[in-house]
Symmetry: C3
Subunit: 302 residues, 3 copies
């Protein structure tokens, strides 16, 4: 009986941008890996779940990112296992997780976002995950069980861990979400706040018509003093043309008059492997000029 699963992702593309940007240092045609124009960041991970009896389970997950461009590790946060380093107790009460993990707000956005929170997601590129990054260190998280489609999540970062603030003056953080998922509909609200620091929210949803799905959200994040960091909405549609999955996603920051959009085509080669083509535009507003780019890539999950 195996007590650990080795898994990962290999993702590589070729493409270019019209100028340096979208993570690329120049505007030349190039191999692209673990970057904005990839579907995902290449990774390796170890995970396992042990049944403790009485409905209780223990689980863990260590996950590190790497680049197929040069073999470098420490992606997605600068540490060997920056993508995940956590353990969980699970039972009828839900899940208590501790360590470095994707955030409560991340999971909220992921529940309705149309690209599967791809690296090139314009929702995430425009608004982050309710204004914050996808992961935090030193998290203590609670995920509720499913109550007839309704679930919630609450996380905190203990002040003593000094993940935010300074060593001399550490700050805590909390992160909350409520999600309803039932049949064709998903709706989720996320809110997170750093003590004396940034706060943000996102209210989003998705409706699945069968042949197609639409998703939309409203988002806002600001500093502690009230300066708007991002404010606006997203709107997307997704559907299949034959075997090809197509997605158009649009993210508008009305505060900064900044429009990002994305056209994505995915062609499945197997259940674990697909080819993708993407055109992405990151509008001006938060940067002096708009930049656009495309890529053609391959992602293999193992």
């Amino acid at each position: 009986q195996s007590s650990v699963t080795l898994y990962g992702v290999a993702d590589m593309a070729v493409g270019k941008t019209n100028k340096a940007g979208l993570g690329l240092a120049n505007d030349k045609f190039q191999a692209i890996a673990s970057n904005t124009l990839n579907n995902g960041t290449s990774r390796f991970g170890f995970k396992g779940v042990e049944d403790l009896g009485g409905g209780l389970k223990a689980g863990f997950n260590f996950e590190g990112g790497l680049s197929l461009a040069d073999g470098s590790g420490n992606k997605s946060g600068g540490q060997l296992f920056s993508r995940a380093a956590n353990m969980s107790l699970m039972g009828g009460f839900g899940e208590i997780r501790g360590g470095r993990t994707l955030t409560t707000s991340f999971y909220s956005i992921a529940s309705w976002e149309l690209t599967g929170t791809a690296n090139y997601s314009v929702v995430a590129n425009q608004f982050g995950f309710a204004g914050a990054g996808p992961r935090d260190s030193g998290v203590v998280m609670y995920n509720s069980p499913n109550f007839s489609g309704f679930s919630f999540s609450a996380s905190t970062i203990l002040k003593g861990n000094a993940v935010y603030g300074t060593a001399a003056d550490p700050k805590g953080k909390y992160d909350l979400s409520a999600t309803y998922a039932n049949g064709p509909i998903v709706a989720s609200f996320a809110y997170n706040k750093v003590q004396d620091g940034n706060k943000g929210y996102a209210l989003g949803g998705k409706y699945n018509f069968g042949p197609a799905a639409v998703a939309a959200s409203i988002q806002k994040s600001q500093t502690n003093s009230g300066t708007i960091l991002a404010k606006g909405y997203t709107l997307g549609v997704s559907g299949n043309v034959g075997a090809v999955g197509l997605t158009f996603d649009y993210a508008r920051d009305s505060e900064y008059k900044d429009s990002d959009y994305l056209l994505e085509a995915k062609y499945p080669l197997s259940k674990r492997t697909f080819a993708y083509a993407v055109y992405m535009r990151d509008g001006k507003g938060k940067q002096p000029e708009a930049v656009n780019g495309y890529s053609l890539g391959l992602r293999h999950n193992f």
Copy 2:
């Protein structure tokens, strides 16, 4: 037939100290990982043993440490596989091992120490492992077979590897132990010395009464010029109350008038997973003021 086993540990706790110390940067309640108040350092490893025929076996072990606080790697020595990077030839003659490994003195102390050389072991925190760290690089080790309960180990670090001393003036090291383990009794003596450098010894033992066990040791380490680094004794008792394993351990450095002690409770959730609660006090003497702390944690072996 699998030729390699992937294994590891996930260990995380919450707790606090009365002031900065015991590895914590402040006195606030916090998540604690791969630190003094954890049972163990989280880790991942690869190991295997191949039967070469004729009673001969070849084995290897690569092991790296990580922190569940932030996903950082390179624990237990600053390198990717600082916890273990070695290979072995084993046969009727015993084992010859080469590489980075736990030391001969470590295994001697581990044979009788009551917490399983937990990170919070006061024996190790007061006296190290016969005055030295738990691991060395560039080791060539010989472990004897068991002769009616008696075994010994001898290690050397070849001078050319410059693990001790400087590149221009490298120093060798040797490390010796003799252990008797039979039925309820374990006794072990360890001695190690760096050429023109520190030396230390530890003589310890454990007696298992059935419901309880007691362990004791005398220890001394000093510099090449004779300055005492640590000198004293340890005394501990361990037993079960229902399913809960309790340990009290005490380590006294009489030279520095420094007393460390520990109260540990362990509750098994399965053969591979347990919860632990610990209170630890690190006395003054080697530091200006005593510091104490507690933690409540979960360890999962996979």
Copy 3:
């Protein structure tokens, strides 16, 4: 059905050189790991191949190097997965590979080199791999299928990846080979060139007589302005005496009047494990004085 294989190598030796050199910092007897006098660099890797149907397959390979001397990682190029970080599409058309990989020129030399491109290969130590290193980042590679013993490989590094040149003025690279392998004979030609940079070629072959094999090559590499970096030939013979495999290899750079040679003995302990003894001499010419050394080692593949 497993979708990923965990594999690796553990390799460690003891030995010495007559002066600092061959990767060793001093002339003292020492443990040697992931260095010139080892058969190979210790490593761990993850790889897998997925059948996509219709004759198409997807594969990936992540591989990192480590040292058994101190547990350090990031060998063979300074990154976590410097040894390999790539993915492939394979079919009747051959293989298209992208990422960090052994080069087209490396595989050409490896097809006829007698030590299995051991770390102590004098062919590689004298001439590199057609004048270049064994691996490149940002590669897009095509490997042809086998046409009655004939195959070819072509690789490029896209200019935008700036693997060569500077970020402001990136340079591309291409790498070509043609190989004929049929029964006892292997012959291969490799040529690679960095845009506005170094270029090199190697033409080598091996003939297997049954009890013995001979290999020979001619090699040349130079800078863009025509300065010779290396120019000469190699000649080697390999055979079995009982269970022991013996190799003598000689690499002469006639431009620098530099002769390197090697005596290697390998004794198999199993299909996956062997002991080796090697004497290697790196002649003067490219360095002020010759250096020689020997080692006795053990390599275990898992």
